[in-house]
């Protein structure tokens, strides 16, 4: 029976990609290991190798097709003795999933520019206009990855003391392609590939910052920054104080934080609470593309050490980014992204995904949730939280990290201290489960918070 070739995934978080090019034609003989096609996402390209021998029977997805869902059959291979007539026996190609419906096969585009986002990636809908953006501002649609890159590029153009260092940031164009194109524009002096040496290069970055430069230190993920946490806390965060204000440290530590997908315990940890514990650090964790850009620019200009927590799952999400010459979002200001009067849901970074989905669900049941995106964890915008809770009388926090000593616990304490008399129900935390992140897909899903849990918590505090 003919064998199906399926659309492969380049990474654990990839859901769809573009079929860039067929390297074999229908009827050509194929040996195991032959490269038969090239696929790509906004992050990377990959060659598809045949794992079976035979003849390329039929190409099911033509080259140039965008947003092909992972596991979609893209071709069939005929074994020896089989002919095109046998193709009918092949299982019918699974219907291309929803993503493909929204993006019908386009005309052949052999080379998709890498920076162009696939059209079918999750688009973040934001209900309330951002007060930081003047009305009538022209907006551009960008992935968060591109927004972060543009923020760095703009700041590097503006200030020659700004440079970026980290593993694979230059020639490889970034492990997650966030630094794509920076080497080409700014050269190897300012876009610096480091050895795999987190503790060392974090210290080198802090030393350079003490000497007055403004480093952007990329950690491939914040999991690896645990090797460097001594330099971040003991050197970067404390030196200004220990020097009586003489020796500051303008530095940004950035990279993906929190759970990715199917990478298990050592690569799936949320450090929000860890860093937000420390005086001397500022901690930023954006959710939207516009915030990612505006806050990263603010972080680079900030004279203090800033921990900038990104999220791998969000990198490919798109959003509207204001087309302004100098778009800055001030650090330390939360944002109400959805107004409501019944319950306040507070989250940040990828937690917003669950929060916003839950708000949609709750609305169907007549519960209007007010959703606050904290954006900055330290300094925390207590005022925005308290004002909302005074209005709603109920609060649910949502985070991917563990509950004990978590950011949600801190928010709950602040609400209790500042708005106890306004509360109609105990503040409830939705968080990652109190276990290391498991690998198995079903367990991983259980370990993370979900929109359903947020809905349940919101209903509980509304006594519904």
């Amino acid at each position: 029976m003919p064998i199906q070739v399926l659309m492969p995934a380049l990474s654990p978080t990839m859901e769809k990609g573009n079929l860039a090019k067929w390297l074999k034609k229908e009827g050509e003989t194929i040996k195991s290991g032959d490269v038969i096609a090239e696929i790509e996402t906004d992050k990377a390209t990959m060659e598809v190798e045949a794992t079976d021998e035979g003849t390329l029977g039929k190409i099911l997805i033509p080259e140039g097709t965008a947003d092909v869902a992972v596991n979609t059959p893209i071709a069939t291979i005929l074994a020896d003795g089989e002919s095109a007539a046998d193709l009918a026996k092949a299982p019918a190609p699974a219907k291309q999933e929803k993503a493909a419906e929204s993006a019908p096969p386009a005309a052949a585009k052999p080379e998709m520019p890498q920076s162009k986002a696939p059209t079918g990636v999750p688009q973040q809908a934001v209900a309330e206009p951002d007060p930081e953006v003047p009305a009538g501002t022209e907006m551009v649609t960008q992935t968060i990855r591109e927004a972060l890159r543009d923020a760095m590029a703009e700041e590097m153009r503006r200030d020659a003391d700004v440079f970026v260092m980290g593993e694979e940031v230059a020639e490889y164009q970034g492990a997650y392609k966030v630094t794509q194109g920076l080497l080409q524009e700014f050269g190897a002096k300012r876009v610096i590939d480091t050895p795999i040496t987190e503790h060392g290069f974090a210290g080198v970055g802090v030393g350079a910052a003490m000497a007055g430069l403004k480093p952007i230190v990329e950690f491939m993920t914040f999991n690896f920054a645990m090797q460097a946490i001594d330099q971040i806390i003991n050197s970067a965060a404390k030196t200004l104080y220990m020097s009586g204000g003489q020796m500051g440290c303008s530095i940004v530590f950035r990279g993906p934080n929190g759970a990715a997908a199917r990478v298990a315990a050592q690569h799936s940890q949320d450090y929000s609470a860890w860093y937000s514990h420390v005086p001397g650090l500022k901690v930023v964790a954006p959710y939207s593309a516009a915030d990612a850009k505006g806050l990263l620019k603010a972080a680079i200009r900030d004279p203090n050490p800033v921990i900038f927590l990104e999220n791998e799952v969000l990198y490919g999400h798109t959003g509207e980014v204001p087309k302004l010459d100098d778009f800055i979002i001030p650090i330390g200001k939360a944002r109400i992204v959805r107004s409501g009067s019944h319950v306040t849901i507070i989250s940040w970074s990828n937690g917003m995904t669950y929060a916003l989905k839950a708000a949609d669900e709750l609305a169907k049941d007549g519960i209007e949730a007010e959703v606050i995106d904290l954006r900055t964890l330290r300094p925390m915008d207590t005022e925005t939280i308290i004002n909302s809770v005074k209005k709603t009388g109920r609060a649910v926090t949502v985070e991917e990290g563990w509950a004990q000593s978590g950011v949600g616990s801190e928010i709950a304490a602040r609400i209790m201290e500042n708005a106890f008399d306004y509360l109609d129900a105990p503040v409830t935390r939705v968080s990652g489960k109190d276990v290391p992140m498991p690998y198995a897909a079903n367990l991983e899903k259980l370990a993370l918070p979900s929109a359903a849990e947020v809905v349940e918590a919101a209903k509980a505090v509304c006594y519904r």
Binding site: P195, Q231, K282
Partner: protein, 340 residues
């Protein structure tokens, strides 16, 4: 002139160059004498104030090691950065920081270099290019490499002098830093102050490779073992290393073989070495006595040297007086300097 007495096999000596280091001029000898004496007297006073309860917490004295910082400082030029660990009072005085400010920091007063918020191990001076004063063993090595990175980035002619001890030399980030420094040809002199004991653990009990000048071998970083008790040898080695760095050839390692007379900190049981060992080094190799003997041999009068000692004692006494009478920081200082 009285040459330093021949050292026993296990005592500090220059194993690379052999022969005597270049002679100092009279002015250089007098400067070295005065600068080393200032550190010695300052530290003696700090020890005394500690005993009186005027200085709290940790206090690590530099007595015995004075030739290292004074000799190195004579090899540097304006703008070169200095960074070290927690045994830092000598480095600060050598870079020209004010004795009053250092002593007042030890006593936790508002006139201290860190307004009383840093203490013995955490002092800085932008003006004198002194970058601390770091309490985490080995952390200053990555930081000092970062200072050198900044020089390289800016294309200036300055170098970073990064001091650490034989104990810190076993920390992992030291080697991460060595790798990057050589890879990127950063202008940094790693000065390993081998005083033979990491707290109470002797080098032989902690280090597989006891020749610290070879610690950069696998990174192709050149290194030399230097008699760190002879200020002339230190200065000559410092000049050679500085020239190497300024020529864009990358880092250089200097193992300074030295000795601390006092305990690791003020509460040291001193059970890990004999009194005789300490006395022998003091008697045979004291860095200040070496210079004094040379000066006397060169017909500088005992009286002139006493006058220098008196001047230094005045500076130190004034510092101690200031440090005990300067007010404590204002309570409002608790909340300042967390962010800027």
């Amino acid at each position: 002139m009285a040459a330093p007495k021949k050292a026993a096999a296990s005592t500090p000596q220059d194993k690379t160059d052999g022969g005597s280091p270049p002679e100092f001029t009279r002015e250089q000898e007098l400067k070295a004498f005065r600068d080393m004496l200032l550190i010695r007297r300052f530290e003696e006073k700090a020890g005394q104030l500690y005993g009186m309860g005027a200085i709290g917490g940790f206090c690590h004295l530099y007595i015995g090691q004075e030739a290292v910082v004074v000799g190195m400082q004579m090899a540097l030029k304006q703008g070169d950065q200095v960074i070290t660990g927690y045994r830092d009072h000598g480095h600060m005085l050598a870079t020209g920081m004010d004795a009053n400010g250092v002593m007042a920091e030890l006593t936790g007063r508002r006139g201290g270099y860190s307004k009383g918020k840093g203490g013995s191990m955490h002092m800085f001076s932008k003006e004198k290019h002194f970058y601390g004063g770091h309490g985490i063993v080995g952390a200053q090595v990555s930081l000092g490499t970062g200072l050198a990175f900044a020089n390289h980035y800016r294309g200036n002619d300055n170098i970073s002098v990064t001091y650490f001890g034989d104990g810190a030399a076993n920390q992992g980030q030291v080697y991460e830093s060595f790798n990057m420094a050589e890879l990127w040809k950063l202008p940094v002199i790693y000065v390993i102050e081998n005083n033979r004991y990491a707290m109470g653990t002797s080098v032989s009990r902690a280090s597989a490779q006891q020749d610290f000048s070879k610690r950069g071998v696998s990174f192709n970083i050149p290194g030399k073992q230097i008699d760190g008790m002879d200020v002339r040898a230190v200065k000559a080695a410092g000049e050679e290393a500085a020239a190497w760095c300024r020529a864009g050839k990358g880092p250089f390692i200097l193992e300074m073989q030295t000795y601390r007379y006092r305990g690791h900190s003020m509460s040291d049981p001193a059970k890990y070495r004999t009194r005789e060992e300490v006395e022998k080094v003091r008697h045979d190799q004291d860095p200040i006595e070496q210079v004094r003997n040379r000066l006397l041999a060169a017909k500088v009068s005992e009286q002139d040297l006493k006058a220098i000692d008196a001047e230094v004692r005045d500076v130190v006494n004034a510092a101690a007086d200031f440090a005990q009478h300067d007010p404590e920081p204002d309570a409002a200082e608790l909340w300042t300097d967390v962010y800027r």
